[in-house]
């Protein structure tokens, strides 16, 4: 993975600040665009909408296979 993007994504996990995640994802998406892979870039940008758990780790009770 692009090292700048990885650092930003790690920062997102460490600080819990979503803006780092957004920046990291954008670095990856732009890289894909530069490589001529617009579909990959679109898919990567979509990652933002799938992931909202950073803000509520207090809901950490999980059950295995109960859904």
């Amino acid at each position: 993975m692009n090292i700048d993007a990885l650092e930003l994504l790690i920062k997102a996990h460490v600080t819990g600040e979503e803006s780092f995640f957004e920046k990291g994802i954008e670095v990856l998406a732009q890289e894909e665009e530069e490589k001529g892979n617009p579909e990959n870039a679109r898919r990567i940008r979509e990652a933002l909408k799938y992931r909202a758990y950073m803000h509520r780790p207090e809901d950490y009770g999980v059950k295995n296979n109960e859904n």
């Binding site: 990885l6 207090e58 950490y60 295995n64």
Partner: protein, 644 residues
């Protein structure tokens, strides 16, 4: 220098040599059947005192006079033999310069297990199921007064034995009248905050009256971020009402949603890499800023000395407590005194130390729970130093090389790839493995510092080993990924190859295998926007790991709306763009631009035996002997180097 960390603190008649506290824990497996305080148990805590912690805390004493020793792995402090050992333990802790405090877990309250202390609902640890409390006897004011008196008796006992302090825990497993969610009493012990803290004040008043200035009283409270629960403002108001009664308030977070009282949610109190750093401390510093009239202790995956120094320098806390961090490296304070912060072994927050009731072990510290019989790796005399070959630059091989070099052996480490790290390479790629990444870097830094001859891109043969005339050989060549015996399996890539070989993943992904690697890969790719389907033949995910770590993976997995799981799926065929599987007698398919195999590992035993040389003592270690986890790899590397 870490001047704020290493600054002493006077609390009543006690001097704490620095601001670092080894937080309470109960290494269950280290006690015997009685249970009695074994040498293993003592040594586990003494290592932390030796390592320089200002205060070392121990849990697992049985405070209740009428309770039988053994319940909840507790030591009955009223039994003669235990008392003798406890006195010896305290003396040994003092001889190393640490203060020693004892925690009331399982709580004295548990003596009253037949009663429903909370009235309608709950005993002490959140809401109880109705059938659990239906036959309970309501606890009257008289009984609560009796309990408070008993705490005073316990305090007197501990004081006589030489303890420096007593720890009371509210919240899960302790005196939990605080939460309005669990406390439904309608008398003077329920309702308003003043009422809900009344019993705690009763207990603390009795203890303080007994111990006067001769013991530290340390109160552990967990606050909730749920606005209906005991929160930050409540904590501040409560602490103000406890002025003069307690000396230190430690605050952690509680999970308001736990449904079973005995199911303490470890994850909120013990953060992992999926949670933001300093989450608990953000709460603690608000309480400290409110200028409560006692010292405040912060906790929650704090181990980095730079962060701790910063917290103390900014006056956001007076003391920093750590449990897992102290297990990973009991010598942490000593390393700060000696200006060797880079040598601190990073905790990877894997929960192995708290989640193995039968074997208390630490992934990164192979001496944890074994300190009473392991020797320390000291430099050997010249004539005992050997020429050693270590084959394989994964975690087992690297650990073996570091320890062997530390003992003075002349080590050559061979690795067939162009980089070191082996299976740990995933930590360089997965953003939520940042603690493991630090540990990997720790290993590499110490390997490079050691006087080790590292040879990359080298395929080792018996001829090479013979030519170099090694005295001893350690083989740590790891494991191979297992293949799946189905049509089209060659179209799939191995999960490990994404991290180790940088293989590209495109489009919609199907992961075959619901073990830890499969699930972590799903989280990693899901976070990058791939639509991921896990196909698992079983009924549960992550069966190959322990419950706390499993939860830490499953939480993000379940939150990612682009990740799906199909249970009881039998794989039939892997095609170019789909995977065919059978479930409940039906043949189904799922789109797969990339199919990923994660069905386990196969030991490279035969390859290891091919390198065996008659007449040269050889050890086969790590995944090539038995494909297990990082804990086993690091432990076998350490042991092999000590056996040289």
């Amino acid at each position: 220098m870490y001047e704020h960390i290493l600054k002493p603190l006077k609390i009543r008649k006690k001097i704490v040599r620095n601001r670092l506290v080894a937080a309470p824990e109960v290494p269950f497996a280290l006690s015997d059947d009685h249970p009695r305080m074994t040498e293993a148990f003592m040594e586990h805590f003494i290592r932390k005192a030796e390592g320089g912690f200002g205060m070392v805390m121990m849990s697992g004493l049985c405070f209740a006079p009428s309770r039988k020793s053994g319940d909840g792995a507790s030591f009955d402090i009223w039994e003669y033999e235990n008392t003798k050992r406890l006195a010896e333990f305290i003396d040994r802790m003092h001889s190393k310069g640490s203060l020693v405090l004892f925690e009331d877990i399982p709580g004295l309250m548990f003596e009253y297990n037949d009663y429903s202390v909370m009235g309608e609902k709950g005993f002490g640890m959140g809401p109880f199921p109705e059938d659990f409390i239906k036959d309970k006897i309501p606890v009257t004011k008289e009984i609560l007064e009796e309990i408070a008196e008993k705490y005073a008796v316990v305090a007197k006992r501990l004081l006589k034995l030489g303890a420096d302090g007593m720890i009371l825990m509210t919240g899960p497993a302790g005196i939990d009248f605080l939460s309005p969610i669990s406390n439904k009493r309608s008398d003077e012990f329920g309702g308003s905050l003043e009422n809900r803290t009344r019993f705690l004040r009763m207990v603390l008043s009795k203890i303080r009256e007994t111990v006067k200035d001769d013991m530290i009283i340390y109160l552990r409270t967990s606050v909730s971020l749920d606005e209906d629960d005991f929160g930050i403002d409540d904590e501040i108001e409560m602490c103000r009402s406890l002025e003069g009664l307690i000396d230190i308030a430690e605050v952690s977070l509680r999970n308001p949603h736990q449904t079973k009282p005995w199911e303490i949610n470890e994850l909120i109190g013990m953060p992992n890499d999926h949670m933001p750093e300093l989450r608990t401390h953000q709460v603690v510093k608000q309480i400290k800023a409110a200028e409560i009239p006692m010292h405040i202790s912060t906790i929650g995956a704090l181990q980095d000395p730079e962060i701790i120094e910063d917290i103390l320098a900014k006056d956001e806390a007076d003391i920093v407590a750590m449990a897992r961090g102290a297990i990973a490296d009991p010598d942490l304070p000593k390393k700060l005194y000696e200006n060797r912060a880079k040598d601190i072994i990073p905790c990877i927050r894997c929960y192995r130390c708290v989640d193995t009731p039968l074997r208390d072990r630490c992934t990164v510290n192979p001496t944890m729970g074994r300190a009473h019989y392991l020797e320390k790796p000291v430099l050997l005399s010249e004539e005992k130093r050997l020429k050693v070959a270590i084959i394989g630059g994964g975690p087992a091989g690297i650990e073996a090389a570091i320890i062997a070099s530390k003992r003075g052996h002349k080590v050559t480490l061979y690795e067939k790839e162009e980089h070191l790290g082996g299976r740990l390479m995933y930590a360089d790629v997965m953003p939520f493995k940042h603690s493991t990444k630090k540990f990997k870097q720790y290993l590499l830094d110490h390997l490079y510092e050691a006087d080790t001859d590292i040879r990359l891109n080298t395929n080792v043969t018996r001829d090479l080993l013979l030519k170099e005339k090694f005295d001893k050989v350690i083989i740590a060549i790891g494991a191979d990924c297992k293949d799946l015996n189905v049509k089209g399996s060659e179209k799939a890539i191995q999960a490990a190859d994404i991290y180790e070989k940088g293989l590209e993943v495109i489009g919609d992904v199907v992961i075959i295998g619901g073990g830890t690697t499969g699930c972590e890969t799903a989280v990693y790719l899901g976070e990058l926007g791939h639509k991921v389907t896990i196909l698992t033949r079983g009924e549960k995910l992550c069966r190959n790991t322990h419950v706390e770590y499993m939860r830490s993976i499953l939480y993000p997995l379940q939150q990612l709306s682009n990740v799906e799981v199909v249970y009881f799926a039998q794989i039939k065929e892997i095609r170019d763009d789909e995977v065919i599987y059978e479930k409940e007698g039906q043949e189904l398919s799922v789109k797969a631009d990339t199919a990923i195999l994660s069905v386990g590992f196969r030991e490279r035993c035969d390859e290891a035996l091919d390198l065996w040389l008659d007449g040269i003592e050889t050890q086969i270690i790590g995944d090539c002997r038995e494909a297990k986890d990082l804990l086993a790899a690091i432990g076998s590397g350490y042991d092999a180097a000590m056996n040289l």
